[in-house]
């Protein structure tokens, strides 16, 4: 049996090693990070939630749809990008359409027609982020161009001054990180929270 023992030995070491590794790396490590996060950075660790009058209305990092129950865009709100996930925070997903996929092309054309009608703009003036779905399906941002493109519709729907809505967008345009990383953005939920308070 001596040779058997020699053969089996690394397996016994491996089993004991995995138990120790599971306790240290699988339990102690994430719990320690949990403790640090909850004590030192609780706002971020708990999902950067946005509250209105003490009620949580979402997370500034998780995009939302501003539509009715049937999924039709509510014209009085700034609209998020199209989403393959329908902004379901429980099921992030991208469209994964290849560049030549006929369904993809049909969806772009449908979005062009819908936005051209609702916002009264030429198809060629619609920003690319308004026509494409994001990778996550939960993109919380739109481009500043798309935000400005929606101003006239929203001012009209709400019966407020275009300049007032434009000023609101101005205040929510976030530049590139450090001036050169990523792209400029507008956070749709934060912008809409401010928009709701405009009339009140």
């Amino acid at each position: 049996m001596a040779t058997n023992r020699g053969f089996a030995r690394p397996y016994w070491v491996a089993i004991r090693y995995m138990i120790v590794a599971t306790v240290v790396l699988g339990i102690a490590y994430p719990v320690a990070i949990l403790g640090i996060g909850q004590l030192a950075l609780p706002a971020q660790a708990n999902g950067s939630v946005v509250t209105v009058d003490g009620e949580t209305v979402g997370s500034s990092l998780i995009g939302q749809s501003f539509t009715d129950e049937d999924g039709n865009a509510l014209p009085e709100w700034f609209q998020s990008r199209p989403s393959a996930a329908g902004y379901d925070g429980g099921a992030s997903v991208g469209s994964n359409y290849g560049p030549e996929n006929a369904d993809f092309i049909a969806e772009i054309e449908a979005r062009q027609a819908a936005i051209a009608e609702s916002d009264g703009v030429a198809v060629g003036d619609i920003p690319v982020d308004a026509l494409t779905t994001s990778g996550s399906g939960l993109d919380p941002h739109i481009s500043p161009e798309y935000a400005y493109e929606q101003v006239a519709r929203i001012a009209d729907e709400r019966g407020v001054d275009v300049a007032e809505v434009t000023g609101l967008v101005d205040a929510f345009v976030q530049g590139r990180d450090l001036g050169y990383l990523g792209e400029p953005t507008v956070n749709v939920l934060q912008l809409n929270v401010a928009l709701a308070q405009l009339g009140s």
Partner: protein
């Protein structure tokens, strides 16, 4: 897009890596040459029954790697099957057998291919106690094997390569864990979550409801990138705002993926006693990286293809906060390091852009490749390069004072042949067997036509090279893909490791031959150029036909 933005982003990354690779590389060299065990390590060795002074032959070292990996697969498999009775499982049932097998193999082999959608499949306990543990130790195994190969070069006339358990422990406790702790905290500061809240329903401004997910994400995100693992806590991986909230966390995550792989050449140079040798390897890796990044970024900015042209740019599957430049830098880094994380959907890239991510994996994950695996892969190519150069001038090839005889060249050649065989055979079988083809085309493929073929090719390239990224439209949770990709990941990880350790053993057994006037210098730009050339020729000859059937044909339509 202004060119200076691209240059500034890349320059920031390059400067950070230039600054950290020396101290980190030197620290890792010290880690694996120090004779002293830490107190906590001595305690661990006593508990698991390891004699830390016990030197191992290459065979014993290999048996340790294989035993540890097999037990790892069983642990992760069992945790998934027991999910229904584990705490913090969010009410999710046991993971089915085929998927459990695929996932266990995937995380143990450092691939992190995900046939599943985490939000609806994996509870918190399986994620932290099963998957994230493998994120650490599978990376530790990769580093250990690379260190064993370095010892093959640095030692002379010996039958041993060190001790696998000691190398694994030091890689995990002294390198990966401290870096992961710091990185987790930085990520939380940027907005990555760390909680056990589950899914929270909230009422929205419009009177509807929205779901905010929770989870211990930051602790997993840090090691997912540091260990070049890549398995996302969420389905959409680093495109998810809770995994990668801002452009600066995006750059930070890219640094995490590259930190260890780009520092290991320094470790290698230090351990073989000539840092110039490490620098030459680093230069070859960096050259391939830069060329590939430039190509992918160019293709995405041009944005050809019917869909991108109609929409006005290649933004499908990309996040607004990242745009094109931060997406292509992440994609190049992820596919060329064997990480496989994504911050944008590669399936939706332009045809030729998508081809670049595929090509990066086909390079064999060596520029700089995964933690450990990238260095040993590039050293194998260096051996082939020295051999070819030796043939040209008619001399017996030698590298770092070790003669490369028939045995060494055979092992290196077998290494090079392994993954292409797995990739091409797997792809071919998917279409050649009528029953499987029906299932692949009917169930798995998402995009029709040539793009669908590329999805299958991408899946096997990713599995065989232990990358883990996907053309994610493919439905891989089927009996064929769970099994075939599982086997591809196992073979793609462990067959090359067998050859590497056998090679290390045979190099360590040799004495060193003195450098003469006829020795090929392997630290000069000439050698770097040869090395890059050999990589490109080997990859092009192997994969050109199959690329022509998929992305090239689609892109040139």
């Amino acid at each position: 897009m202004e060119a200076w933005l691209l240059v500034a982003q890349f320059a920031t990354l390059a400067i950070i890596l230039a600054v950290i690779h020396r101290p980190l590389g030197d620290y890792m060299a010290w880690t694996f040459t120090s004779a002293r065990d830490l107190k906590v390590e001595r305690g661990l060795y006593r508990v698991v029954g390891v004699d830390s002074a016990g030197e191992q032959s290459w065979g014993a070292y290999l048996r340790g790697v294989l035993a540890f990996s097999l037990i790892g697969v069983l642990f992760v498999y069992a945790l998934q099957r027991l999910q229904a009775v584990l705490p913090y499982s969010l009410g999710l049932p046991a993971v089915p057998e085929g998927l459990s097998f695929n996932t266990a193999v995937s995380f143990v082999t450092n691939t992190n291919w995900q046939s599943y959608s985490p939000e609806v499949t994996m509870g918190y306990t399986v994620q932290i106690a099963g998957l994230a543990v493998q994120n650490f130790v599978s990376a530790g195994v990769g580093i250990a094997v690379a260190v064993a190969l370095i010892r093959g070069f640095s030692r002379r006339s010996t039958g041993t390569l060190g001790n696998f358990w000691v190398d694994l422990t030091r890689a995990t406790l002294r390198i990966l864990l401290p870096l992961a702790v710091i990185s987790s905290i930085v990520l939380i500061a940027g907005g990555v979550i760390q909680n056990f809240n589950g899914f929270t329903e909230v009422s929205t401004l419009t009177g509807g409801t929205a779901t905010v997910p929770g989870g211990p994400v930051a602790s997993q995100e840090a090691i997912k990138l540091l260990g070049t693992n890549g398995g996302g806590f969420f389905n959409v991986n680093s495109a998810h705002p809770f995994e990668n909230p801002t452009p600066w966390t995006n750059l930070f995550e890219i640094v995490l993926m590259l930190a260890i792989p780009f520092s290991l050449p320094r470790t290698f140079g230090k351990m073989v006693g000539d840092t110039r040798q490490g620098f030459a390897i680093l230069a070859a890796m960096a050259t391939l990286f830069i060329v590939s990044l430039a190509a992918l970024t160019t293709f995405e900015i041009i944005g050809s293809g019917t869909g991108p042209q109609l929409a006005g740019g290649a933004m499908e599957g990309k996040e607004q906060r990242f745009g094109i430049a931060a997406s292509t830098l992440f994609a190049t880094t992820s596919t060329i390091t064997s990480t496989g994380a994504v911050n944008s959907m590669h399936d939706s890239f332009t045809s030729l852009g998508g081809m670049m991510t595929l090509f990066n994996m086909m390079l064999g994950e060596i520029a700089p490749g995964g933690v450990g695996s990238g260095l040993y892969g590039m050293l194998i190519i260096a051996i082939i390069t020295v051999f070819i150069a030796g043939l040209l001038v008619g001399r017996t090839p030698e590298y770092l004072g070790k003669k490369l005889g028939p045995r060494e060249i055979k092992l290196a050649s077998l290494y090079i042949l392994t993954t292409p065989t797995i990739v091409l055979v797997g792809t071919a079988l998917s279409f050649a067997i009528p029953v499987i083809r029906e299932d692949v085309e009917g169930t798995s493929i998402w995009n029709p036509g040539l793009h669908g073929f590329t999805e299958v090719l991408y899946a096997f390239t990713s599995a065989g090279n232990n990358n883990g990224s996907a053309f994610a439209g493919i439905t891989a949770n089927t009996p064929w893909f769970n099994t075939a990709l599982g086997v591809a990941m196992l073979l793609g990880r462990f067959i090359p490791i067998v050859f590497v350790l056998a090679l290390a053993g045979s190099l360590a057994a040799q004495n060193k031959v003195p450098v003469t006037a006829g020795t090929l210098p392997t630290h000069r730009p000439q050698f770097v150029g040869l090395l890059v050339g050999v990589v490109l020729i080997v990859v092009a000859l192997t994969y050109f036909p199959v690329l022509a059937l998929g992305p090239l044909a689609e892109g040139l339509q």
